[in-house]
Symmetry: C2
Subunit: 181 residues, 2 copies
């Protein structure tokens, strides 16, 4: 397992060891003692899987206390550009984001702690999968509009396919007025 | 979530609800409170993923105490015939097996309790994924030869691709002499 820290505390990329043989390949996508030793949470209680056609953008979504979700994200088929925005009020990197090119062939994953907004765009038809530290509760979900002018994220794609729900998300400066000076 | 019991106690098939929309689809592949309420174990500590080209057969494998593994298995791409053999010494169905046709399009999965031998054959190029109740320890692994004459499993394929390690597994009547009368 290779671990790459980002400039944002707690936000890391993980690249597991993949065993190849004549049959195909094998890898451990999660191993509790190992992942806990790397600083990840003790438990993930929900796993989700979505399929997105090329050009779909999901996000930016976040979940609030008491149902905040840390997420261990990866791609099982295809490739996505994954984006995590630090919105932890006390973080020195509040308002900053990092991107990860998640690729099924590399089997790389990212751990996004609680308190981040998260989204991704499918650069190919992609199966996306993630483990969550808390159960989903619709009522504690919110988000930031994907093309927020203050964040100014380069998604690398012009006209993504975005759900109606996501088209109605608010800009960062409305949700976190303290974020923008 | 639909649940189908088999003739073997504790061995069940689960079919999650899949939400489809213009972007693709979404489903929860694991939800702790829900799965515990269905009788599944409190915790899974390892997730594995393997890719198998069409015609590959992996199995029959089992893990022994103190590292016995219950497995929640599914297919994320392709289709496999999955086989679980009850080798729990006190089980009234000891030596019996069940098959599951696991298909990525259906998103169905099977829960195989501790004490079973498990294997599958890839009917297409397939990505297989499973959650385990215990960490993998090579030393506590054993197995039964896939074409065991007593089990006489119909794998639906003539000459599967089998690893060298799996070709050397023993027949059931050598491993469990009490199984065959
Ligand atoms: C997130 C989620 C959705 N659903 C249902 C609600 C909807 O009917 C359907 C699709 O939900 P949506 O919120 O539109 O899916 P989505 O894929 O757009 O949402 C996801 O986007 C990722 C970027 C975030 O990291 C996730 O936390 C989540 O918000 O699935 C669940 O049943 N459980 C869940 O955990
Ligand atoms: C099972 C396993 C293997 N490995 C390594 C050992 C080998 O180098 C490589 C491939 O291992 P193999 O045992 O040949 O993989 P496999 O895919 O043939 O083994 C699997 O078959 C399924 C039918 C069973 O349900 C599983 O429990 C497991 O036994 O991966 C791990 O690192 N962790 C693990 O948990």
């Amino acid at each position: 397992m290779q671990v790459r820290k980002t400039a944002i505390e707690g936000l890391i990329e993980l690249i597991p060891r993949v065993f190849e043989d004549e049959r195909g390949h094998f890898f451990e996508s999660y191993n509790k003692p190992l992942f806990v030793s790397l600083g990840l949470p003790m438990e993930f209680v929900q796993d989700n899987q979505s399929f997105s056609v090329k050009g779909v953008l999901r996000g930016l979504h976040m979940q609030h206390e008491p149902f905040a979700q840390g997420k261990l994200v990866r791609v099982m088929s295809g490739q996505v550009l994954d984006v995590a925005v630090d919105l932890r009020p006390d973080s020195p990197t509040f308002g900053q984001y990092e991107t990860f090119l998640l690729d099924a062939k590399l089997a790389n994953m990212a751990y996004i702690p609680e308190g981040f907004a998260h989204g991704f765009v499918a650069l190919e038809d992609s199966v996306f999968s993630y483990k969550c530290t808390n159960i989903y509760h619709k009522a504690s979900e919110s988000g930031i509009i994907w093309n927020d002018p203050d964040l100014n994220i380069n998604w690398g794609i012009a006209n993504p396919i975005v759900s109606e729900k996501d088209q109605e998300l608010k800009p960062l400066r409305e949700v976190f007025p303290q974020a923008v000076v």
